[in-house]
Symmetry: C2
Subunit: 217 residues, 2 copies
DNA sequence: GTTGGTTTGTTGCAATTGCAACAGTTTGAT
DNA sequence: ATCAAACTGTTGCAATTGCAACAAACCAAC
């Protein structure tokens, strides 16, 4: 597995590669590897660090008292996770973060980002600004999922989800980053009912799909 | 209607009242009143300003192409709205903000908060820090709603929602800030099915309620 | 290649939920 | 005080969805 190029990490946008090493030391960063299925952060854990996925994938899970676990969100290379807990006053996680495959994470001390640096390094202001942007975007992406989840039927949830993917990816061929089981989990719908509905939608000529690739017609 | 005390606005926490006036001018703030039902920000509008509710209430609505409108979130006195759009790079709103009653809003220029002040006023750092906290919290509150929405039945959605309220309010008597119709809208469930389920839950002795006040037993 | 475990597709049946229509209640404006 | 409009509760019926159980396909490890 290969790490994402640091220039392609949105949090570091606008920061010259030459300064990046200095910055990474300044904000107490460190890397850690996780095996497939390993828990990165447990519910109730304190989260003083922001995580950036360098390679692999992370799922945010929430388990309720009846043992039903649901997939709230997923995070891929270059993206942040745990930021919202790390920048809050109460830094206790309300969800569990799990590596769904072999994953490498870069951790950064949140306090070093939200408080202005003692040395007042110039790139510090830039990373704080980037952080604002990303926090806003993360909120918006949750609103987006709320919109999907508020659809009244399985069909409309699927359409809303696939449409969102289509917007992100440019191609006519939309590749879902989740397996069927995971997708059902993500949309909080019954897996077999979902398969049934997907079949109907294909029969009616609304969509087509092969494995994890979808096409809207 | 009376405005919330500025000392009770989380964004201004830790800022001495004497400095507040100076700050409010520095960050280009202005007030605006809205009548009941009036739209504050429309979908697709640019959102360069962060809104703070001084009195009244604001609902975040999302309408889809079939005309189904759903209530994503609500914002009361002292709370922010539009921050996530305002601090993002692309500042276009994806939802509509509506005053549900007579409402006064204090608007602040987001750019003045996320960029460090030219005058480098000391309280500027503090408001930026507060902003980080609040952005994190907002994200967490959306995750919270996602958790509620991912429940598989009306009953569990209601229980999850009422439990959330119970955590916020300390009292045994939980007052819902939404009417029945609004609540059904907020949880994306059928209103009459919700009423039916609430009745069943009362019959079974799980909860009790009178109008908008609930008690979990 | 073989094997065991996981994922996916299929289908009948039961249960929940949405829908529609209507009656009773509350609210707000004049 | 009166009236209209919006909100809330009720109920029968239809439709969607969840559930369970099983078969088929796929994957990974040896």
């Amino acid at each position: 597995m290969k790490e994402i190029n640091y220039n392609d990490i949105p949090l570091f946008e606008g920061i010259h590669p030459d300064n990046l090493n200095k910055l990474l030391i300044c904000i107490n960063s460190f890397k850690k590897d996780f095996e497939k299925g390993e828990t990165i952060i447990m519910e109730k854990d304190k989260v003083p660090y922001i995580g950036i996925v360098l390679f692999g994938n992370v799922h945010l899970l929430k388990e309720d008292i009846w043992g039903n676990s649901s997939l709230l969100s997923y995070v891929g290379p270059g993206e942040l996770f745990g930021e919202n807990f790390a920048v809050s006053v109460e830094q206790e996680s309300s969800v569990t973060f799990v590596a769904v495959e072999k994953t490498r994470v870069l951790f950064l001390a949140a306090s070093k980002i939200i408080h202005t640096c003692e040395n007042a390094c110039s790139f510090h202001a830039r990373i704080a600004e980037n952080m604002f942007h990303l926090l806003g975007q993360k909120s918006i992406s949750y609103m987006n999922k709320l919109e999907i989840m508020s659809k009244e039927s399985i069909r409309r949830k699927l359409m809303a989800y696939i449409s969102t993917l289509a917007q992100q990816q440019k191609s006519k061929y939309i590749k879902a980053p989740l397996s069927r089981t995971q997708l059902a989990d993500y949309l909080s719908i019954n897996r077999s009912a979902m398969t049934r509905e997907l079949g109907k939608m294909r029969d009616e000529g609304i969509i087509d799909f092969d494995r994890n690739t979808f096409v809207i017609k």
